[in-house]
C-alpha cells in the first residue's frame, strides 16, 4: 500500500517535471519556433514569413507565460498530448506506432541478457575467486567501459563491414534484430552477471546455505531450493532500475541503426523542435519506469515476503 502511494507521487512528479521542462523548451527555443516548425512541415526551401505567421496563428505561439503554462500542465494531466507539430498526427497515435518497434527490441535485448548474464554470474558466485569469477570480472569491467554506441560501431565494423554477415540497418526481418539487440545485450549482461555473482556469493556464504548442504542436499538441490529465489530478488530490483540505462541505450542504438522506434523518433523530434512529440515520448518513458519499478516492488515482495513487513 505504502509503496503504491510513493510510486503514485513519483509518477505525478515525473509528469510535472516533464511538463515544466518541455514548456521551458517551447518558450526558449533559439530563433522563432514558428519558422522552425514551418521548416519541419514544408521543407527548408519552402519557408517564408507567410507560412511562419500561419503556423504562429494556428498554434498560438504568442501570449503571456503563466496561463499558458497552467493550460499546458492541464492538458498534460488530462493526458491530452496534442498533435505533432511536424506531421500533424495525434502524438498518441505516433507514439503507439513507434513503441511497438522499441518494445520488441528492448524485450529481445533484456531476455538475451538474462540468458547470458545471471547464469554465468551464479556459477562464478558459487566459487568466488575461481577462474570463472576472475575472467568474468575482467570481461564485465571491460564491457562496462564500452558505451552502447561504441559497441554498435564495433559490431557494424566487424560483422557487417568486414565479414558482411549481417545488415547494418533495416527493419522487418529477424536478422535485422541481431546487431541492435547485441549492442544492447552485452552491456546489460555484463552488469546482470556482476549483480547475480555478488548476490550468489553473499548467499552461498550464509549459514543457512551451508546447513542445507550438511543436511544432505546435493549442490544442485541446494541451489535450486535455496539459492535461486534469494538471488532473484536483488536481480529483479536491479532490472527495474536498469530500465533507464536500457532506454538510453535504445535511444542511441535506434538512432545508429535507423530502427523506427521511440528513441529514433525522439532524436528527430528534438532536432526539429517538435515539442509535443518530445513531451509525449518523455512522459511515456518516465511513466513506464515508474510502472515497471512498481511491478518489481510487487513481484519482489511476493518472492521474499520479509520485504513487505
Amino acid at each position: 500500500m505504502n509503496t503504491l502511494v510513493t510510486r503514485s507521487i513519483q509518477a505525478l512528479m515525473v509528469a510535472v517535471l516533464i511538463g515544466a521542462a518541455t514548456f521551458a523548451m517551447m518558450r526558449s527555443l533559439p530563433g522563432d519556433a514558428a519558422y522552425r516548425i514551418a521548416a519541419g512541415r514544408y521543407g527548408y526551401d519552402n519557408v517564408d514569413t507567410a507560412a511562419a505567421d500561419a503556423v504562429r496563428e494556428e498554434l498560438g505561439l504568442g501570449g503571456p507565460a503563466l496561463p499558458a503554462f497552467l493550460g499546458w500542465l492541464g492538458d498534460l494531466l488530462r493526458l491530452d498530448f496534442g498533435t505533432s507539430l511536424v506531421t500533424g498526427q495525434p502524438v498518441i497515435a505516433e507514439i503507439g506506432h513507434q513503441l511497438g518497434a522499441s518494445l520488441s527490441l528492448a524485450a529481445v535485448a533484456v531476455l538475451l541478457s538474462l540468458l547470458i548474464g545471471p547464469p554465468l554470474g551464479i556459477l562464478a558466485g558459487l566459487r568466488p575467486g575461481g577462474v570463472l569469477d576472475r575472467v568474468l570480472l575482467v570481461v564485465s569491467t571491460g564491457l562496462k567501459a564500452v558505451p552502447q554506441f561504441l559497441m554498435a560501431l564495433i559490431l557494424i565494423l566487424v560483422l557487417s563491414v568486414q565479414f558482411r554477415l549481417l545488415p547494418a540497418a533495416g527493419h522487418g526481418e529477424a536478422r535485422h534484430f541481431i546487431l541492435p539487440a547485441l549492442a544492447l545485450v552485452l552491456g546489460l549482461a555484463a552488469v546482470n552477471a556482476r549483480i547475480a555473482r555478488d548476490a550468489m556469493a553473499r548467499i552461498a556464504a550464509m549459514p543457512f546455505y551451508s546447513f542445507a548442504q550438511w543436511k544432505g542436499l546435493s549442490p544442485r538441490q541446494t541451489l535450486l531450493r535455496h539459492g535461486l529465489r534469494n538471488v532473484s530478488v536483488p536481480l529483479l530490483t536491479y532490472l527495474g532500475l536498469q530500465f533507464v540505462t536500457l532506454v538510453e541505450g535504445v535511444v542511441v542504438v535506434e538512432a545508429v541503426f535507423g530502427w523506427p522506434g521511440i528513441g529514433h523518433a525522439l532524436v528527430h523530434a528534438i532536432f526539429s523542435r517538435d515539442v509535443p512529440m518530445v513531451q509525449g515520448t518523455a512522459l511515456v518513458l518516465g511513466l513506464s519506469f515508474v510502472l515497471i519499478n512498481a511491478l518489481m516492488d510487487f513481484v519482489t515482495q511476493k518472492i521474499d515476503p520479509r520485504r513487505s513487513a
Binding site: 507521487i9 558505451p147 554506441f149 555478488d198 518523455a282 519506469f289
Partner: protein, 270 residues
C-alpha cells in the same frame, strides 16, 4: 558483501592505481602532446585527405586533411573539461542538498527526495537533450544538463550516509559538548562520505563523457567542425576501409579513458 570481501585490499588499490594511471596517460597526451608538436585541429589540406601518419601528424589525416592527432588532443580536452565541470557542480549541489535533507528531515527531506526520485525515473540522455534545446551554446547546455542529471546520485549517497552518521552516539556526544553544525560536518560527516564521493565522481565523469560522445555520434550533440570524440567517430566511419587508423584512434582513446575511470571508481556496482 561486494568484491572487497573476496579480493585483498592491496589488489583493490592496484586496480584503482591502474585506472588513475590510464586516465593520466590519456590526459597527458591531450595536454602535453600539442605543446610538443604544435598544430591546428581545424587546418584543412585536402591534398593530404586520409593519408597516413607522418612527422607533423603522428596519427594521419582525416577526410578533410586535418591532423587526427591534433583533433583528438582537442577532443580529449573538451569532453573531460565539460564532464569535470558538471561533476563538480553536481557534487557540490548534491552534497549540500543531501546534508540539508538529512539534517532538517520533515518536509525539506520529503520534497527533495521526491524530486530526486522523479529525476531518477527519466533517462539522463533525454534530460540532457531537452536542456540542450533550451540552453544556448552546446558546451554550456551539456554542462547544465549533465549537472541536472548527475546531482541525484550525490544527493542520495550523501543523504543516506549523513542520516546514519547523525544518529550515531559520536554525533550526539559532539552536540552535547556544544559543537556547531560546521564542526559536526567537518569531523563526523565528511570523513564518512569522502571516499564515496570519489567513487561517485569517477562514475559521474565516465557517464558524462559517454553521454557527450553518444550524442555527438548520433548528430545531436557538439556540432562540426568542433573536434569531439563521438563526432570524430561518425565522421570517420565511412572511411574505415581507406583509413582504419583514423577511426581507431578516437575509439581507442575513448575506451581507454572510460576504462580508466571505471577502474578508478573501484568495484562498487552501479
Amino acid at each position: 558483501m561486494t568484491d572487497a570481501v573476496m579480493i585483498p585490499r592491496s589488489a583493490g588499490h592496484a586496480v584503482r592505481w591502474t585506472g588513475a594511471a590510464l586516465v593520466a596517460a590519456v590526459l597527458a597526451v591531450a595536454l602535453i602532446g600539442p605543446l610538443v608538436l604544435p598544430g591546428d585541429p581545424y587546418a584543412q589540406s585536402l591534398l593530404k585527405s586520409l593519408s597516413g601518419p607522418e612527422a607533423a601528424a603522428p596519427l594521419g589525416y582525416d577526410h578533410l586533411g586535418r591532423s587526427i592527432f591534433h583533433r583528438l588532443a582537442h577532443a580529449l580536452r573538451l569532453s573531460p573539461a565539460i564532464a569535470v565541470a558538471a561533476v563538480l557542480t553536481a557534487g557540490a549541489t548534491g552534497l549540500a542538498l543531501g546534508t540539508l535533507a538529512a539534517a532538517r528531515g520533515g518536509w525539506t527531506d520529503r520534497v527533495l527526495t521526491t524530486l530526486a526520485d522523479a529525476l531518477l525515473a527519466l533517462p539522463g540522455l533525454l534530460l540532457v537533450l531537452i536542456v540542450l534545446a533550451i540552453v544556448p551554446g552546446t558546451a554550456l547546455g551539456f554542462w547544465a544538463g549533465l549537472s541536472l542529471v548527475l546531482w541525484v546520485e550525490f544527493f542520495r549517497l550523501t543523504r543516506a550516509a549523513t542520516r546514519d552518521t547523525l544518529a550515531s552516539p559520536a554525533v550526539q556526544a559532539s552536540r552535547l559538548l556544544g559543537f556547531g553544525p560546521a564542526y559536526i560536518f567537518r569531523t563526523h560527516i565528511w570523513p564518512e562520505i569522502a571516499p564515496m564521493m570519489l567513487t561517485a565522481a569517477a562514475f559521474g565523469t565516465a557517464t558524462a563523457i559517454m553521454a557527450i560522445a553518444a550524442l555527438g555520434f548520433v548528430h545531436v550533440g557538439m556540432r562540426a567542425p568542433t573536434p569531439e570524440l563521438g563526432l570524430m567517430m561518425v565522421e570517420l566511419l565511412p572511411y574505415w576501409r581507406e583509413a582504419p587508423l583514423a577511426l581507431l584512434s578516437p575509439v581507442i582513446a575513448t575506451f581507454a579513458l572510460l576504462l580508466g575511470l571505471t577502474l578508478l571508481a573501484g568495484s562498487r556496482e552501479t
